[in-house]
């Protein structure tokens, strides 16, 4: 009998005898029901840690996060456009402490699945009865000859994790002379935030339009077409950013020539004054041992986001091999977290895991610095396909960009940050 099984047994015995008011346990300094460790404090991990404590206060929940504060990728393209500041997208982890989550600022460097411990860079290893892994993405620079070295990566930024790179790319955009060319390279799908690169192009073009109107913005897309909201993005480029934005599909970056500031594509070479290369991606490195799909993503089941490889380990957010038509978004990671938290609690307390999860997504994208559009979807579990599938007839796009949806995009951000971290 493992320690966890023993607890199960005791719990069941106590409940059977009718002698234990289970909900009262939390207030006593008793042993916790079980130890859950959450790796990663982004949209997925922070939400999971909070909801685990909210729904089952008797759990001991530890969140491991290497950064001092959460910095939101959503809204961060407006930092590049110069209308928002990174400080305003930054939320500290204190709020989770008020819910009883223990936040450990450290880096998870290895997971020992045999001994069930997470090893940290500095502190003592953390034992777990169930583990939630929310590692986000890592970049596959090995696929771009010329950009393998850290020095090269400092010169050609991704700004695809919000933070110092976002601020530095804004500085370089400001320094670029009027009449210069800025090129954004987009990897093949799937990657984090499908509409994100096109939003970035749009709001930076809005900045150029006002501040340096002779400049050009070149979108080098590895995909055959815009991967999200194509008609909405193409309309604003053709109309408002005519003469600034140029979109080139099927333009996968195969090599980068740093000395000549040249991107080598399969069919041509492209020069620009400033490059933003968003590299191909895979699950964050700590999840390496869980990867099962294309050597990139973690396969999970969709009733509880449990790893297909290692039982007792739940993986959420951008790192998973997503269900059909499910984008890698902060909203989805937040929703994964709640289904996973419910399943973790059900497993630990010996209750059935719900067989009918319903989750949703709304991704807002700014097309100008004040006007936005959205794409939405609702996903229900299909027992035949054993996955979450979009509900036919639900979901959809905005008819066109509005300031009202720009305000909703901000309201969404404020509320989801509070939902995850407040």
């Amino acid at each position: 009998m493992t320690a966890l099984d023993r607890r199960h047994f005791l719990l069941a015995a106590g409940a059977g005898a009718g002698s234990l008011a289970l909900s009262g346990c939390a207030s006593f300094s008793q042993r916790p029901l079980a130890r859950v460790v959450v790796i990663g404090g982004g949209y997925g991990g922070a939400t999971a840690a909070k909801y685990l404590k909210l729904w089952e206060p008797r759990l001991e929940v530890t969140l491991v996060e290497r950064n001092e504060a959460f910095v939101s990728c959503p809204i961060s393209n407006l930092v590049l456009a110069g209308t928002e500041r990174i400080e305003n997208l930054t939320v500290r982890y204190d709020g989770l402490g008020r819910h009883g989550v223990r936040v450990v600022r450290d880096e998870a460097v290895a997971i020992d699945y045999e001994r069930r411990v997470v090893r940290l860079a500095r502190g003592d290893a953390l034992p777990w009865d169930r583990l939630v892994v929310a590692p986000g993405i890592d970049f596959l620079y090995s696929q771009i000859p010329g950009l393998e070295s850290p020095q090269a990566q400092e010169q050609v930024l991704h700004a695809w994790r919000a933070g110092p790179q976002t601020v530095e790319l804004r500085r370089r955009l400001e320094a670029m002379p009027d009449g210069g060319t800025f090129a954004i390279s987009i990897p093949r799908a799937p990657y984090r935030c499908p509409p994100g690169p096109y939003e970035r192009a749009s709001v930076v073009a809005d900045y150029f339009r006002k501040a340096k109107p002779r400049s050009k913005l070149l979108i080098l897309d590895a995909n055959p077409d815009v991967t999200s909201k194509p008609a909405l993005f193409k309309a604003v480029w053709a109309e408002r950013y005519k003469g600034i934005v140029e979109y080139r599909p099927n333009s996968e970056l195969v090599e980068f020539d740093l000395r000549n500031r040249t991107a080598r594509l399969q069919v041509e070479d492209v020069k620009a004054d400033l490059f933003n290369v968003i590299p191909p991606q895979r699950a964050g490195r700590i999840a390496e041992g869980l990867i099962t799909v294309n050597r990139q993503w973690v396969g999970v089941e969709f009733l509880g986001f449990e790893s297909q490889k290692i039982p007792g380990v739940h993986v959420i957010g951008d790192a998973i091999a997503a269900a059909p038509a499910m984008p890698k978004s902060g909203f989805m990671a937040n929703n994964h977290a709640k289904v996973a938290a419910a399943a973790v609690i059900a497993r630990i307390t010996g209750q059935p895991v719900s067989e009918s999860p319903i989750i949703a997504n709304t991704c807002y994208s700014f097309l100008t610095t004040t006007e936005a559009v959205h794409v939405a979807s609702v996903h229900k579990y299909d027992p035949k396909q054993k996955t979450l599938v979009p509900v036919p007839g639900a979901g959809g796009l905005s008819p066109g960009r509005t300031e009202l949806e720009g305000q909703y995009a901000y309201a969404w951000a404020r509320n989801i940050w509070a939902d995850a971290l407040g």
């Binding site: 729904w55 719900s354 404020r414 407040g422």
Partner: protein
């Protein structure tokens, strides 16, 4: 441009939530209760935890169950104008919407 000096408000909302005797913390929730609680948690991505919106989105916590249900059905049929809620409401059955409306109505709020 809306700005975000809202860390203090966030902290206040969190403290309130932690202190509240919320319906979600019931350890002995039935499978049906846990199911609807997880569905409703999806809505929190825009409306904040338990529907306690910080603003910019309607608060759902503690509202009349019938009002919430009527709104959801009207979003579903297109009778009530919306930017996105009609697209969400059409993803749920009437029974699911009823249970979600009832759940948000049951959230305790300070009056």
């Amino acid at each position: 441009m809306p700005q975000f000096p809202f860390a203090r408000r966030l902290a206040a909302a969190g403290a309130l939530l932690a202190a509240s005797t919320s319906p979600v913390a019931l350890a002995q929730a039935t499978p049906a209760e846990r199911e609807v609680r997880t569905w409703a948690a999806s809505c929190a991505a825009c409306h904040n935890t338990e529907g306690r919106s910080l603003g910019g989105m309607p608060a759902l916590a503690g509202r009349s169950a019938d009002d919430l249900y009527r709104a959801l059905i009207e979003f579903r049929t297109g009778k009530r104008p919306a930017t996105v809620m009609h697209q969400h409401a059409r993803g749920y059955t009437e029974d699911e919407l009823r249970r979600i409306a009832d759940w948000f109505a049951s959230v305790k709020i300070a009056r």
